[in-house]
Structures are given as C-alpha cells and as structure tokens.
C-alpha cells in the first residue's frame, strides 16, 4: 500500500501551514476578550519593597492589576517540579517556592510581579509600564560554580548554598580503582552552553471563565495539554479537572519549552475568573528570551581510563547543573536520569560514577530542550573519546569500535539496558558516505587554499520513548509515562484517531494516519488525527523525548488490534466464515481464498446498525487503549562532520555532514529526514552559533536576534542522511524515535572536527569565529614559545 509504513507521504498538515491557515492560540478570538501584560522584574535579584498600581488602574480601559499576595490568598498553588530527586545522603531535593506572581522577592530578570489586564494589548503594555515597583536590589549570581562558592548570594532559604541536590549514580570505589589502574587516563573540563529554545511561535494563552457553568477554557501553546490540565487543577488549584478544558491547537514548535506550565497561563486563568473576561497573553520575542525555559548549562569535569589495549576501564564525571532561579517541571530529571544514565555511550564500560550538583542561580529556569540531558551526555563522552584517541595516538574511530557494545541486551552500570543496535554498521555506513579514506587528500587540497580542514566523529546513543511508568515512578517521577489512543471507525468507514500525543511540527497527522492506512489498507485521506483537546481526547502524556512514535503510536496499534479483532468477528459472522480466515486488504474484509467479502465501510455500517452482529457483541466500532512502554528505546548512530577553518578570521564552514542513524522502523522517511535535518541544525547551532550570555548583574546580553545567533540556511551544510537500522524489540512497530537524535549527536562531531582542524583541543561551544581564532592564536603562541 503506497501510503503505509515506509512511504514518503507528503504532510497532510502542510496545506494549512504554508497557506497561512493554521490556527494558533493567538488566532483564537473570544467575545469580549481582554489582553494581559506582565510587570516583570528588571533586576536579577531584589526584594520587592512596594508596588503601586494606582496610576495603571486609573487609565481608561484598564480592567485590573493583580499581584502575588492576592494570588496566594486565593489559594493558587506554587509551581511544581514533577520529579523528585534524592541526594547522596538520602535527603529530598531542596525546592524553593515559585509563585506565579512574585510575592516578596524576584530572582531573575523577567520574573513576573503583576498581571495587567486591559482592553487592548498596547494599553495593557502601557499600564504595565505605569505600575511602579520599588525594589531593593540584592547581590546576584549567574554561574553554577559561582553559586556553589562560599559566600555566594543565596536565592532560596531552604536551599542552603544554592544547592538543590547532590545526586549520584554508579559506584565510586570501583570506578576510582579502575581509573587508578588505567594505562591511560584522559581528563577534561567540559562545558555545555546555555541555549534559548526559540520556537517560531512564541508562547500564548487565552483563558475564559464561564461563571454560569463554573467552567474554564484555556487555549495554550502546549506540548501536553492533559498534563497542563492535571497540573493546573491538582497543584495550582485553578479549577478542578472536570471544570477545565485545555486546548493546544496548532502549535508552532516547542523543542521542550512548551512542556511546562508557566506563570503566565496560571495568571491568565486566575485573572479571567477575577475580572469575568477572557484574558489573552502572547509573548513577544524578548519575553521569550527572558521567560521560556532555557536548555543545558552544565559545567563538568570528567576522567576516562583505558587499559593498555585501549579498552575503557572506567569513567568518572562531576557535573554542576545550573537550574536557574526556580525548578521548572522536569528540571530535576534532565541533569540526572536523562543525562547520567547515558554516560556509557555506545561503549562497554564496567565502571561508571557520576555525581551531579543542581544549583539555583539568578537566571531563567533551565529545563528540557531538544535532547534533554542526552546531548550533555553525548557531548561529554564523545569529546572524551576523541581526545583520548588523540592523546594515545590512535584512530578515533578504531578506539570507539574497539569499545562498542556488541551484544544485546546490554546492561550498563548506569540503569539503562540497551535492547538493540549495530554500532559497527552505523560507523561503517557513515565512514563510507563521508569518504573518510579520501580525507587526507581533501585536507591537503584545502591547505593549498589556505584552509584548515578537520574531521570529527560522534557515535551517539540516546534514550527515547520515555518510559515505563513503574520504572520512572521508582526514580522519582510524579507521573506515569504511558500514552493513550482511541480508534473510532465511523459508520461510513472513515476513521478518527484520538491521540494523547501532541503534534507541534512533527507531522503526526501524516505519520499516525500512515500506520492506520497500513493496518487497514485504506488511503490516508480517510483517516483524521485528533489531538490537543482535553474535551476530545481521553487522556495523554503529550509529546517530548521522541516518545510519540515509540509510545504514542504503540497505543494506537493496541487500539487497532482491538478494532481489527472486532472487524474480523463481524465479518466472520456476516460472511459465515471462521475468524481466522478473514483478511483485511484493498478496502475490503475478505474470506481468504474465496470471493466472499464485505467492503470496509460495510463492516462499519454493520457495527453501527447492529442488525446482524454476533450475539452478545456491543454495537459500534470504537476502541481505546493505554500503552505503557516496556523499556526506553535506544536510537543510535554515527555522525561525521568535516569542516574548513579560515585561519585569518576563525570562520568555520561545515563542508560535509554525514549521519547514519538507527531509528528502528521508519514510518515516513521524508519526515524522519526532516527531523534529522532540524535536529542537526540545532546541534550545529549549539556547537557554533547559539549562546545565552549573562553579565554579572544577571542581564541577558543575548536576548534578541541581534546577539543570539539563530542558525540560518547559509550556516548549514547539505546533509547526507542515511539509515542502518535494527528493529526495536520493545514495541509493536519496532520504532526507536528520531526527534532529537540530530541535536544530540551532532555537537561533538562538530567540535571534534574543528579541534582537529586547528590542532587545539581547548575549544568550548559555541565555536564562534572569535573563539576559533583565539584558539588558533594559542596554538601559534605555543609554537612561538617552543
């Protein structure tokens, strides 16, 4: 079937997106809606002495100005972190209170102090400017290392020394012993830079309270509307779940930043109730830089030891993770269970130990951003491997291959049990596509043009399809991470799939339809995907961590199993045949080997008329399922990056980028390639372009596109994308996930290539022209000194 699994079906959703007919939150217009603007702290750390809203309230058309103390008095709960992490000493994490509107203190520039509601957006902004807040400035700290230092400014009373938790994984003593016995130890300081997620559509919310029905509706830019409803109701006490409908309509990208429930949504809901009008807020780009959860920001030291044959004997890592001013929803899980559990990389390592200190600073809260913990792990291990190979004078690919995990399942010392993979196959495929054999000649040719050419590897593995509920529960997660689906076959035979996954760029309307088309041999145009509305979809955990394929589609498959069984029963009954002889193909349900058949829609009709169905069978043809994964899935692959550096300016061009991925089963190669392209773009962005920079006063110096370098088409190469796949044994479709791999695997390949080109391994991300040039000057002054 041409539109089934493996077909390059064009995206069904693109017609409305590329013709400007998408329906985003800011496009929603409610009768009598008002507009919100937030009064935000200009200081990174200050005590609120007084707030005077009288001038704002006196402006004509201003509905209300609401503040933190009133919010607290109304019983609106503090913002939660949904994953409890326990410290080495057994103590729970030290979580400071985060009120949607600040009460006594502000802790980062952009912290919301008041919500202003007015007749127009411009008026709301003007009124927000008219609110006079007196601040008593407090000392500021922005870096995690500085925040842990003696005498650092303190952010939260219950987090002494700004330490949120001091967590560990693996065994310390054996790891130390292994490193002590090692023939070679490579030691590095590794920083993972801070990034702003920058979805194209900024965050937005419009909240309505219907007093007569005692019911709330919230349209919002969410990757997981059911989780938003759950948290808004269970923890923030905005409304009970059955009185709150959350709709995430078309959402223009998230990259993790739209998983969380932010102060603005809470405040809009609360304000809508207080003033009896719909309240709409849409972030502008500056607000996005100042308030969307950032990603990454790790400072690590790492040691890896090898025996005399180049086999890894141990890995020891310390990481300081900057979580910003408050703990965002999954902030604690990202630098722990989503990070250190992947430190084994593609390698068979007997001894691993990692401890992580999570730290409060006067910066924007940090949480999951495309890859979430796995890019940090991959960058660390792949920089170490490349560096170790250089130090030992061996081929970096050979050193990796020697240490590959070769049999599955493979239990690492850091929780994860890899279920499948063929790392040699990915390495070989990438090397061939990249013509590694011809690199020396290309390097010489580049040198003749005055350019420095370098090549770098990254052999990544990551974990997707998060995750078995009992497993994550035992590790501290506050939720289960299953997914649900409902398959509705209508009386006319068309199908609606209601899914708890949420598409915000992934193309679910196409790929989810493809698996249904495959199963029932129908055209995708007969299949509609419904998602993003808590009143329509039964429940869902949403889309992040590349889980929509491995978990979301598996739930659909389970529901389809039930539908198929019922279809066969009905057909067997009507056609007077055995259920086992019924086959579904070509738009019909047939008795195999005969010409007896019912058309697909006739079965639908039979189910709903119920005139002639097996005795005792319920009418209708609609089934639902919840799928709880059995394991994480483990996408893996090999990326090879080749660069040319202009030594005069430090300008680096990525001249070749080869990806060989193992994503398991691929539903739509075109969409998968798009995901890889976008992921690599963000990975190259992290490696060479993007960086959130704070000054010592806690002001973001990079809070606009004048200073934050978003990757552009001409910064990026033509990608060479390949697949060498093994089937994932853990889910019915054999899928592993492809949404984040590009962003996870690419940064170390880029930095390994640049450091190879310039002959200086001391280079941090982002490798801007200025940074590369400075690293080249270091090489030159070293040569001069010798």
């Amino acid at each position: 079937m041409s539109e089934g699994i493996g077909a390059r079906v064009l995206r069904k959703e693109d017609k409305r997106f590329i013709t400007g007919k998408g329906r985003y939150t800011d496009d929603i217009i409610e009768a009598n809606q008002a507009y919100a603007a937030f009064v935000r702290s200009p200081h990174a750390h200050a005590r609120i002495v007084s707030v005077d809203a009288s001038a704002a309230l006196a402006m004509e058309g201003v509905e209300t100005v609401l503040m933190g103390p009133e919010l607290v008095a109304d019983g609106i709960g503090n913002i939660i972190c949904g994953w409890g992490v326990t410290s080495k000493d057994g103590s729970p994490m030290n979580m400071g209170a985060w009120s949607a509107l600040a009460t006594e203190k502000v802790r980062y520039v952009g912290d919301a102090v008041a919500i202003v509601v007015a007749d127009s957006k411009a008026l709301a902004k003007s009124a927000a400017e008219a609110v006079v807040v007196e601040y008593e400035e407090l000392p500021v700290v922005v870096g995690s290392v500085e925040a842990l230092a003696e005498g650092a400014p303190q952010l939260h009373e219950n987090a002494p020394g700004n330490l949120i938790f001091d967590w560990e994984i693996g065994d310390l003593a054996p790891t130390d012993a292994a490193l002590a016995s090692a023939a070679h130890v490579t030691e590095m300081d590794i920083t993972n830079n801070r990034l702003a997620p920058n979805p194209m559509e900024p965050r937005s919310a419009i909240a309505t309270f219907n007093e007569a029905e005692d019911h709330y509706t919230l349209y919002t830019t969410s990757q997981n509307p059911h989780v938003a409803r759950l948290v808004l109701s269970a923890f923030y006490n905005v409304a009970p779940e059955h009185k709150l409908r959350v709709i995430a309509p078309d959402v223009g990208g998230g990259f993790g930043s739209k998983i969380y429930i932010y102060p603005e949504e809470i405040a809009c809901l609360w304000a809508a109730m207080k003033c009896g009008r719909s309240v709409k807020w849409t972030s502008d780009r500056t607000e996005a830089f100042l308030t969307d959860a950032h990603g990454r920001d790790h400072v690590s030291t790492a040691k890896i030891g090898f025996d005399k044959d180049g086999k890894i004997v141990g890995l020891k890592v310390n990481t300081k993770a900057n979580l910003g001013a408050y703990m965002s929803l999954f902030s604690s899980a990202v630098p722990t269970y989503l990070y250190a559990t992947l430190l084994s990389g593609q390698y068979d390592i007997a001894n691993i130990y990692c401890d992580v200190q999570a730290v409060y600073t006067n910066t924007v809260p940090v949480d999951a951003y495309r890859g979430a913990g796995r890019p940090e792990a991959c960058y660390l291990i792949e920089r170490l491997m490349e560096t170790a190979a250089r130090e030992m004078g061996v081929d970096p690919a050979a050193l990796r291959a020697k240490n590959f995990v070769k049999s599955f399942p493979h239990q690492t010392p850091v929780i994860m049990a890899y279920d499948s993979g063929d790392f040699d196959a990915n390495l070989k495929q990438a090397q061939e596509a990249a013509d590694v054999a011809g690199f020396a000649a290309r390097k010489a040719e580049a040198a003749s043009r005055g350019k420095l050419r370098g090549l770098g590897y990254s052999n990544y593995i990551e974990a997707c399809g998060i995750a078995p509920s009992a497993a994550v529960g035992s590790l501290g997660a506050g939720v289960g991470l299953w997914e649900s689906a409902e398959v509705r076959v209508n009386p006319v035979g068309t199908i609606e799939i209601l899914t708890g996954s949420h598409s915000h760029g992934q193309g679910h309307e196409t790929t989810f339809a493809q698996i249904v088309a495959e199963r029932f041999d129908l055209p995708t145009e007969n299949i509609q995907i419904v998602h993003g509305d808590t009143d329509k979809v039964q429940f869902g955990m949403g889309t992040y961590g590349s889980r929509s394929g491995a978990v979301g589609m598996s739930a659909i498959v389970k529901a389809m199993d039930k539908v198929e069984a019922k279809v066969k029963k009905i057909a067997a009954h009507v056609l007077e045949a055995g259920e086992d002889d019924i086959v579904i193909e070509g738009g019909a349900v047939k008795v195999a080997g005969t010409d007896k058949q019912m058309l697909w829609h006739e079965v639908g009709l039979a189910a709903y008329t119920a005139h002639n169905i097996p005795e005792g069978m319920e009418p209708g043809l609609k089934e639902s399922a919840f799928y709880d994964p059995t394991n994480f899935t483990f996408p893996a692959g090999c990326y090879i990056c080749e660069v040319e550096v202009d030594p005069e300016t430090g300008v680096t061009e990525v001249v070749q980028f080869v990806a060989s991925d193992d994503f398991g089963t691929i539903i739509n190669p075109m969409i998968v390639e798009g995901q890889v392209h976008g992921g690599i773009a963000q990975g190259i962005g992290q490696a060479m372009l993007e960086n959130v920079v704070y000054d010592e006063m806690g002001q973001q110096l990079s809070a606009s596109y004048m200073d934050y370098t978003m990757p552009r088409a001409d910064d990026l190469p033509n990608y060479s994308v390949h697949h060498a796949s093994t089937v994932c044994p853990g889910n019915p479709l054999g899928m592993k996930g492809c949404g984040e791999a590009g962003a996870i695997g690419s940064p170390p390949a880029v930095i390994n290539a640049i450091t190879d080109a310039i002959g200086n391994n001391n280079l941090a991300m982002p490798a801007t022209p200025a940074a590369v040039w400075a690293a080249l000057q270091d090489v030159q002054s070293k040569i001069a000194a010798e």
């Binding site: 400017e129 300016t649 430090g650 110096l701 040039w773």
Partner: protein, 275 residues
C-alpha cells in the same frame, strides 16, 4: 508601539513644516530601524513623517566629469544617490556598477532581501549605526551629505555612535561623492545580526589620496585608520597591509569578539577590500 500620528508627504519641504510644529516628529524612510525601535517601545515619536512618496529623493545619478568641456573617459564621475534610494536599488544600479561596483556590492550585502528593499541610504546615514556599512563607504570616499539646509562633508558629519551633524528639522536629501580610481569593501558580518563586526572601506581617489574607514569595530563609531592609509598610500596593495600594526585600543569588546579579534579583522578585511 505607542500611538503616533502618521503623515505621508510629497516633498521634503512639507516634511520640514511638520517637523517644525510637531512636538517630537520623526522622519520615516524605510522604517527598518525606526519601526522595530517603536515596536519595542524604545522610541515614541509624536508624529511619523513618511518620505516614501516625496518627490526627488530617489535614484542614482552619475554626472561625468568634464575637463574643458570634454567628458573624461577615465572616470571622476560624481555619483549622487537620493536619500530614499533603497539598498536594493543601489545594489542593482547598472550605471553605478560601471563606475564603482564596490558600492553596489556593499549595498547588496546589507541585511536580508526584505531589509534591502525597504531600507534606504538616507535612513542608514541619518541613523549612523556604529555597525552600519554605508558610513564606512561615505567616510572613505570623502562624500558629501546633502540636506534640506546645507551640504556637510562626511568627515564632519559622522560624530560617533548614532551621532551625526544633523540638526533638528534637518532632512537628508542625498549623498554624493566622486567615483574613486579604485576602492573596495571588506565586511566581516556579526554572526547574529549580520551587521558589520569589522567593515573596512578602502578608496583611492583620482588624485591618489587613500582613505580607509572602519565601521563596526570602533568604540565610537566609524573612523579612519591612519596607519592603513599611510601604508596604502605608499603601496596600494594587500601586501602593504601586512606590515601595519592595527592596535586594539579604542576597539569594541563584546560577546561576539574581543578588541584584539576586531583588530585582526580590520587587517584581514582591509586586505580583502583590496582583493
């Protein structure tokens, strides 16, 4: 954006009249700088005067130099560019490309296509962004800034970051310069904004004088570089640049690069301007 009064005028004189009476009126040219600033609420003009329909402010004219009534074949043309001429129009002007292609290339590398089709030379020069491209060209070409009141030499006109000799009520109508015997521009774009991080315009006039102007790198806006000028006056070649010490003093340091890096870029861009 704050509320403002919008005027569309058909002549600079009409604009001048409004400028004289309104409390805080601003000229609107291409709006590529003014509009974003207003949207961010960093500017709140009482009135905005749109020059896009004003006559006589748009286009490139080239007057051939005549010596004793005879047109000289070897250049020396006077190039006049109307204030409302967009970057795209300058980039695509065939006549200008014939007498001085470096100017077309400079204009063709400003911003992105949308910016180039709206942004104007008058707006750029009036704004005098320390990282803008045109100021380097005009300073190196010893250009003249024409306003509704007077003519100003480029060397008097550019007075530091966003500072110019323009007085209240003064409207730029055109810029003009003599097409040089040789010249070129080397631009190192800021990776994020793509404005100049170091832009070096080198020009050798008909009488042999070499001027080198640097934009994007200085702490105080566009400036001339005496060392490069001396070296290139002696030997107008990329090799001559190698021997010049470019000091980092007075250069900008920011998250995109240190003063030392910018000093290096000035040298490299000077060479590339000559290539």
């Amino acid at each position: 954006m704050y509320e403002t009064n919008f005027h569309s005028v058909s002549s600079p004189q009409e604009a001048e009249a409004i400028l004289a009476t309104a409390t805080d009126a601003k000229i609107l040219a291409g709006g590529q700088t003014l509009i974003p600033t207003m949207k961010q609420r960093l500017a709140a003009p009482s009135d905005v005067i749109d020059l896009s329909r004003a006559e006589g402010l748009r286009g490139v004219t080239i007057t051939k130099r005549k010596v004793m009534g005879v047109i000289k074949a070897d250049g020396g043309e006077t190039v006049t560019i109307g204030a409302m001429t967009t970057h795209a129009e300058v980039a695509a002007n065939a006549e200008l490309a014939e007498v001085f292609p470096a100017m077309c290339r400079l204009a063709g590398n400003i911003g992105d296509p949308a910016v180039r089709h709206r942004g104007t030379i008058g707006g750029s020069v009036a704004n005098n962004d320390p990282a803008a491209d045109y100021p380097a060209a005009l300073l190196a070409l010893a250009a003249t800034i024409h306003t509704n009141k007077r003519e100003i030499a480029a060397s008097d006109y550019f007075q530091g970051m966003f500072e110019t000799a323009l007085q209240e009520g003064e409207i730029i109508t055109a810029v003009s310069f003599q097409a040089p015997a040789a010249g070129g521009y080397g631009k190192f774009p800021n990776p994020a904004s793509r404005y100049a991080m170091a832009g070096v315009f080198v020009a050798r006039s008909k009488d042999g004088a070499v001027r080198v102007a640097v934009t994007g790198a200085g702490e105080n806006g566009v400036f001339r570089h005496a060392g490069l000028e001396a070296a290139l006056t002696a030997d107008y070649s990329a090799n001559a640049v190698d021997g010049v010490e470019v000091s980092a003093e007075g250069l900008m340091s920011d998250l995109h690069g240190t003063a030392a890096y910018r000093a290096n870029l000035i040298k490299v861009m000077a060479k590339r301007a000559l290539a």
